[in-house]
């Protein structure tokens, strides 16, 4: 999988980052209380959350006595399996079954997580695999959000549909679908304004976009992606819950995983809401997007801080 190679390249930039952790191995030796504490702390420090971390370590204890495991390295391996079993990767390069109608993908999330950049990366990805792609500048609110996406559209070499700043985003999406039909576009990728999930009006506005899109094209949006910043703590769970209420989420983009944050909160989101991670963001360049790999993710998560 060539995407996977990109993932590795993107992450190997730094030794201290996400990828750097993969080189580090736990010391081997006996399994004692200190070891369990250390594991729990490692999970907590990766933003898994204290309750979920305790639960995982308890499960590990059970497995260890059941399988009569003696070595730390083996124990860590088991914990890693437990984590991997908790998560299933979401769909990547998803397209709807219909060949006559465009596939609509929407990016939503709180402020500054990486929606616009991820929209551009997705546009690039779909275009690379031969699709006719169209970006929709659905953030009509933030200053220069449209200009930002325009520059990306140019770099990706794809069409962009936009309106004046301050205009109605839902109406723009309605028109964008018509434009996509007229231009025989395969994939429509919509950016939306960042908004805090606690703001009722803004969430209603998002719901309106959803209804309008669905009215113009039944079945759409085909993939709604919540963009979560990997540095986010426990708040990400509420984010997912609230956004999911305004528009059913199909998966996450876990952005900014090229830093030192490990994004463990996605485990809770998967557990509580059954929303998988589809992609990870690994940098600021257009090709810095990769499919989510549970194996690699859990390995990095469990390395010592």
């Amino acid at each position: 999988m060539n995407l996977f190679k990109q993932f590795k390249n993107g992450l190997s930039r730094s030794k201290t980052g996400f990828m750097g952790r993969l080189d580090h191995l736990f010391d081997s030796g006996d399994i004692d209380e200190e070891f369990y504490d250390e594991l729990e702390e490692t999970l907590v420090s990766g933003d898994v959350g204290v309750q979920a971390s305790m639960k995982l370590v308890d499960q590990l204890r059970e497995e260890i006595s059941k399988r009569k495991i003696k070595d730390k390295e083996d124990a860590r391996q088991v914990l890693q399996e437990l984590v991997v079993n908790m998560i299933s990767p979401g769909k990547t390069m998803f397209t709807s079954a219909s060949i006559n109608e465009p596939t609509v993908i929407l990016l939503i999330g709180v402020n500054g997580t990486g929606k616009t950049t991820s929209a551009a990366k997705l546009a690039h990805l779909y275009k690379q695999s031969g699709n006719e792609v169209m970006l929709v500048a659905g953030d009509t609110f933030r200053a220069a959000a449209i200009e930002q996406l325009e520059i990306w559209a140019e770099r990706a070499g794809v069409d962009i549909v936009k309106q004046k700043s301050g205009s109605d985003s839902a109406a723009l999406f309605y028109d964008a679908i018509n434009a996509a039909r007229a231009r025989n576009v395969d994939v429509v990728i919509g950016d939306t304004a960042g908004r805090l999930h606690s703001k009722y009006n803004l969430m209603e506005e998002l719901n309106k976009i959803y209804r309008v899109v669905e009215r113009n094209l039944p079945g759409a949006p085909h993939q709604v992606l919540l963009v979560v910043d990997a540095t986010t703590g426990q708040n990400a769970v509420v984010q997912a819950k609230k956004f999911n209420e305004s528009m059913p989420i199909d998966g996450l983009v876990l952005a900014k995983l090229d830093g030192t944050a490990r994004g463990g909160i996605v485990l809770n989101i998967q557990e509580e809401l059954d929303i998988p991670v589809c992609y990870i963001g690994t940098g600021e360049k257009i090709e810095d997007l990769a499919p989510f790999d549970p194996e690699m993710f859990s390995r990095a998560l469990l390395e010592k801080n």
Binding site: R13, S14, T16, G17, E41, V44, S45, G46, D47, G49, V50, Q51, V110, N111, G112, T113, G114, F141, R142, A143, A144, A145, E147, Q148, L149, E150, I151, W152, R155, L196, H197, S198, K199, Y200, N201, D229, T231, T232, G233, Q234, N235, A236, V238, K256, D258, G259, T260, A261, R262, I265, E284
Partner: protein, 448 residues
């Protein structure tokens, strides 16, 4: 909704009520709850460890004050310790000099550009003349964003996309002289703390412009990793302060404590919205109770006291007591509530307000909504306002037409009103003294 730590602690410590001093076992039990609360609030686990150790040392053997339960006593100590850690009071900007340079730094998307604008507006309000400098030549549209926002508040921007950020910043010094600006605010690009190249660029900008303030802009929703980024930024350039953004959300904001613990820098401001005026001073005591999950009681009381006319409140109390709350009163209340934010915001600041009915939760007092409600109530007859049960479906249609709304809007309002009446009834029953007293009472419940 925030869980009420004070109550939980009450539970763990109930047994020792009446005993004179807190013993080690009591304190250990309480510390478990506190540890959990802090970790759930995203305070870094190492910071939590140190903090717990410090609090424990202070708490064991501590005399329980006459007026407090042991649970409250522990919370008081925890809160004091945390407030102390976060700085005793609000600390302002270092802008005494004739010309001041302020540099915004931070991770990607934390809110640097927006905050630079907010600061410019704030300083303009203090009679300063700011120049904004667009030093992010990397992110698409970054300078454009700064320019557009600056334009909206009538401020100047200097940038040059053809040039190196370090050169732009250096040149800005001359531009500021030429334009008679006495504050220069540098908006730098977002960068990862492990990106060596970008980190040294930041250090070079610092060398070139020698700023009085280097402010780390931190997203309040940040988790455990906040310490790593903050420590690295501090190591490379030496921060003078922190600005916490996006605090208008519902995050507990434990990152504030983490960042303070590793940098020792004060939080100078907090961002509470996307608008250019959504900047507030940082109050350590409020932040402490927010992180601890006790509700921002103090700030609520302040807000309520400032915006509710005292006489009107008294009158309202009477009505509540007699349960004569009408749609007319409702309309008047809305006008006052509007200046306090949405009902949900208000309730979120109240501990134990988990039971707000769904209909009310979704009600927000923004300008639009307020106008709509105002119009609907305005289209009712006096009789209808006194007794909404007379409003049948044909009357609803008339009211909708009259107010330019829909029957659904009217229904929603009537429903919300009913819920509110019910809620006030419950409040009234729980406390015959009415609402404003109830708020005061709440203040006493948290004696800090």
């Amino acid at each position: 909704m925030f869980s009420n730590l004070a109550e939980k602690l009450q539970g763990t410590l109930r047994k020792i009520k009446g005993k004179g001093k807190l013993n080690e076992k009591d304190v250990d039990g309480a510390m478990r709850e506190i540890r959990l609360a802090l970790l759930e609030a995203d305070v870094n686990f190492k910071v939590v460890k140190d903090f717990i150790a410090a609090v424990k040392e202070r708490a064991v053997g501590h005399e329980v004050m006459e007026s407090l339960t042991p649970g409250q006593q522990v919370v008081k100590i925890v809160n004091e310790e945390m407030t102390r850690l976060m700085g005793q009071e609000h600390s302002g900007l270092e802008t005494g000099k004739s010309r001041t340079a302020i540099m915004m730094v931070g991770l990607q998307g934390s809110g640097k550009t927006t905050t630079a604008i907010k600061l410019a507006r704030h300083l303009r309000g203090q009679g300063r003349s700011p120049l904004l400098v667009g030093a992010d030549t990397y992110r698409p549209g970054a300078v454009k964003q700064l320019e557009k926002m600056a334009d909206s508040i009538g401020e100047k921007v200097y940038s040059n996309l053809e040039e190196d950020p370090v050169d732009i910043c250096r040149e800005a010094l001359q531009v500021a002289d030429r334009e008679n600006c006495d504050v220069i605010i540098y908006d730098t690009a977002g960068r990862l703390h492990i990106d060596d190249e970008m980190m040294s660029e930041m250090a070079e900008i610092k060398k070139a412009v020698n700023p009085e303030e280097i402010l780390l802009v931190v997203d309040a929703m940040t988790g455990q990793d906040a310490v790593n980024a903050a420590a690295s930024f501090n190591d490379s350039v030496g921060l003078s302060g922190v600005i916490l953004t996006k605090l208008d959300g519902d995050t507990r904001g434990g990152a504030a404590l983490s960042v303070l613990a590793v940098t020792g820098c004060p939080v100078k401001f907090v961002g509470v919205g996307e608008k250019t005026d959504a900047l507030e001073p940082f109050y350590p005591d409020r932040m402490a109770s927010r992180i601890l999950g006790m509700g921002d009681v103090l700030s609520l009381i302040e807000k309520a006291e400032a915006s509710i006319d005292q006489d009107k409140a008294k009158e309202m109390e009477q009505k509540l007591r007699k349960q004569q709350f009408t749609l007319d009163d409702f309309k008047e209340q809305l006008g006052q509530l509007r200046s306090m934010g949405s009902l949900e915001d208000i309730m979120e600041m109240l501990p134990n307000a988990g039971s707000l009915p769904k209909e009310l939760k979704q009600m927000s007092f923004n300008e639009d909504n307020f106008k709509r409600i105002d119009a609907i109530i305005g289209s009712m007859t006096k009789e209808e306002r006194q007794d909404p049960s007379t409003i049948n479906s044909s009357r609803r249609q008339r009211i909708a037409r009259g107010s330019g709304t829909t029957v659904q809007d009217v229904n929603r309002l009537l429903n919300q009103f009913k819920q509110m009446q019910k809620m006030f009834k419950q409040m009234g029953a729980a406390d015959k003294k009415g609402m404003s007293k109830k708020m005061k009472k709440m203040k006493n419940k948290f004696p800090f």
